[in-house]
């Protein structure tokens, strides 16, 4: 139900049957691109998709991925700020 992995579409193998070659970290498998097909299939080349049981089910939105990572990084920065503030407060107490 859940096991899906991002893979890159590297070749259209059968345009009529909507099949393409996906590359997942050097492992290749022919997958159906029926769910993500565009009017011009070559637009899919180089795109990343979520691969599940031999089907590319959804194209991965690079912008959304970046937004998610930024939110995560932001937490990291907030954390660093909090820690820096805590260090600062501790240092102040030390010298007072």
């Amino acid at each position: 139900m859940c096991l899906g992995i991002p893979g890159q579409i590297v070749e259209i193998t059968d345009a009529t049957r909507l099949m393409a070659m996906a590359d997942i970290s050097g492992v290749r498998r022919e997958v159906s691109i029926a769910c993500v097909a565009t009017p011009d299939l070559t637009d899919l080349l180089g795109e990343w998709a979520l691969i599940h049981v031999g089907f590319a089910m959804s194209l991965i939105d690079a912008d959304e991925a970046e937004k998610t990572l930024e939110a995560l990084r932001g937490l990291g920065e907030a954390q660093e700020t909090l820690e820096a503030m805590a260090d600062g407060a501790a240092a102040l107490e030390g010298t007072q």
Partner: protein, 381 residues
């Protein structure tokens, strides 16, 4: 590995964990009075234990393991029906690996294979189609198992079989849907649930709106989550913030993969090939209305239930679960795996009593494999 490793960054994890701890404190949740968050999907259960997230998150969070494991919720009688079909000499029975070891009343598919049935593990229904093309004199049956994530691939395969007029390919359809069992759990007065981590890959197909009722009717937050550890942690944080703020909304943490309205091609294929059964039997939850799918009459030629006269559609027989098996209670989050009297004694991965110990997504298997009990694995010393 792109889009995977970035979401496993341990440095970012520390930051999210601190943020989670801070919100848990603001809420005032403790080990004795925790926030109950249900992760619906078995893949999420597996990820939580694989990365040790249960031990890294504060004790004020209790993860309730939901029924989102399609193998676990399958009643034993469905396996018996699979074995019955597979044992016919003309049949090549194709299945995902997940189902091979699940016990039936007499035997599992693995045992049936050892007894001589032609049972083959496949990665995709497309592989089953190819086997059908290459073996025109045999009947190829594909075990259609899974929630909405997997349903479109079976539907598209049936459509392809129809285009090719393949006469020897059928699907034994046992596909189920996520929203009905969630509603059943929410209606259960014994369940205490404060929020949900929603199934990311099911949502990739159906979108986020099918969960609106959880927020609007039941007033509980739900965050649709990806499967990498950072996705899970971020989703937990988002659920906690909603609880703290008194909000109940459907949020999408997995927006890079999950479109708000789902995947149109998948949804169209499902609608074309399947229709809901009036009701379907779930292990641990009994009969739930409109929770299972069957193949429409127009594709009857590809319906194994029609061809072999077996299965839910042909007149289901209910088989009692083995004595002492508490799978139903674990699977609906009523008890933890360690709360089952058979856990680790009468039921182990080598000699499983029920599906939750066999399925790689089953809570019991995850606990056992990754040592999630308190005395099975000591805290870092």
């Amino acid at each position: 590995m792109r889009y995977v490793e970035e979401f496993r960054d341990p440095v970012a994890a520390k930051a999210v964990l601190s943020a989670i701890a801070a919100v848990v404190e603001e809420i005032g949740a403790t080990a004795r009075n925790p926030v109950h968050i249900m992760e619906i999907c078995g893949g999420h259960t597996h990820a939580i234990f694989r990365y040790g997230l249960d031990r890294l998150t504060p004790k004020g969070i209790e993860f309730i393991h939901g029924p989102g494991c399609p193998v676990c919720v399958l009643p034993m009688s469905r396996i018996d029906e699979c074995v019955e079909i597979a044992e016919r000499p003309e049949v090549i029975f194709c299945t995902f690996g997940d189902a091979m070891r699940v016990p039936g009343s007499a035997k599992s598919l693995m045992q049936a294979k050892a007894d001589g049935a032609d049972i083959r593990m496949v990665y995709s229904p497309l592989d089953a189609l190819e086997i059908a093309r290459r073996n025109p004199d045999r009947e190829v049956v594909f075990f259609g198992l899974g929630f909405e994530t997997t349903t479109p691939s079976t539907a598209l395969s049936i459509q392809q079989a129809a285009r090719e007029a393949l006469g020897n390919f059928t699907v034994f359809c046992n596909h189920i849907t996520v929203p009905p069992p969630i509603k059943a759990l929410l209606d259960d007065p014994h369940m205490i649930l404060d929020g949900f981590v929603g199934p990311g890959h099911v949502s990739m197909v159906i979108g986020t709106h099918p969960y609106d009722f959880i927020a609007e009717t039941y007033g509980k937050p739900i965050v649709v989550a990806g499967f990498e550890p950072l996705d899970l942690l971020q989703s937990v944080l988002m659920v906690l913030r909603q609880i703290r703020d008194g909000r109940a909304e459907v949020e999408n943490q997995y927006a890079r993969v999950v479109p708000e309205h789902g995947n149109p091609v998948s949804l169209a294929a499902i609608a074309d090939v399947y229709e809901p059964r009036p009701s379907f039997e779930w292990r641990g939850l009994g009969e739930i209305d409109a929770s299972g799918l069957r193949i429409r009459a127009k594709y009857a030629a590809f319906d194994a239930e029609e061809k072999f006269g077996v299965g839910y559609g042909a007149g289901p027989r209910s088989v009692a679960e083995p004595e002492g098996c508490a799978c139903g209670q674990v699977m609906t989050g009523r008890i933890k795996p360690t709360g089952c009297p058979q856990y680790g004694t009468g039921c182990t991965p080598e000699m499983p009593l029920g599906a939750l110990m066999v399925s790689s997504e089953g809570a019991c298997a995850a606990y056992f494999q990754y040592g999630a009990t308190d005395d099975h694995l000591e805290a870092a010393e």
